[in-house]
Symmetry: C2
Subunit: 115 residues, 2 copies
């Protein structure tokens, strides 16, 4: 079946969460949001393009930072309301400079920064 981004299930704002995972290490790097056009652009260009909820604009990841995400594989979940992107990440994925955005771990009730 040919894939049409319009057949995904978007929330009331027209967005779907997209998980970015390092294709080689399996590390989960970040979660951001896409609209149908973001998904189409990502597939057409091979560069991951989110929708920035704060800026209300397309967000071609790494456009200004150079920390681009090259799409290796796109997966859709069973409910068609979440995407999993396998990516080749250049530099850190997180705006803080950390490789992954998930660098805070909860250990025995305490927050521990691991990066």
């Amino acid at each position: 079946m040919s894939f049409d981004p319009a057949t995904l299930t978007f929330n009331e704002a027209g967005l779907i969460p997209a998980i970015a995972q390092d294709h080689a290490t399996g590390e989960v790097l970040m979660l951001a949001w896409m609209n149908a056009e973001s998904v189409a652009r990502t597939l057409a260009t091979g560069r991951v393009t989110y929708w920035s909820r704060s800026r209300q604009a397309f967000w071609a990841k790494g456009e200004t930072s150079g920390h681009v995400q090259e799409l290796v594989g796109l997966h859709v979940d069973c409910d068609r309301d979440t995407l999993l992107l396998k990516v080749r990440q250049t530099g850190p994925a997180c705006h803080t400079g950390a490789r992954s955005c998930f660098f805070t771990k909860v250990e025995e009730g305490e927050e521990v920064v691991t990066a």
Copy 2:
């Protein structure tokens, strides 16, 4: 710093997306939603408990299916608006019987079912 679920950033429905990842293989299994009380219950019991948006009720994963998720680690992202759960998954994570919910892959414009 001690961790308080109330300090997370929830959406307008009081929910935060939670990614479940197999702690051993790195496979991303599913994404579901939690409210503050789900997070607290998950930490208190060591069993992952989501909030079911369709049933509007707590969803102790595996309660009926037996396909429980034992919490191995809980990570918070930089914006405090997404959780990453490292889990020990018993049986399939997906209600379809697939190990992961992300069994549909987009390849050269076509949807390919990989499980």
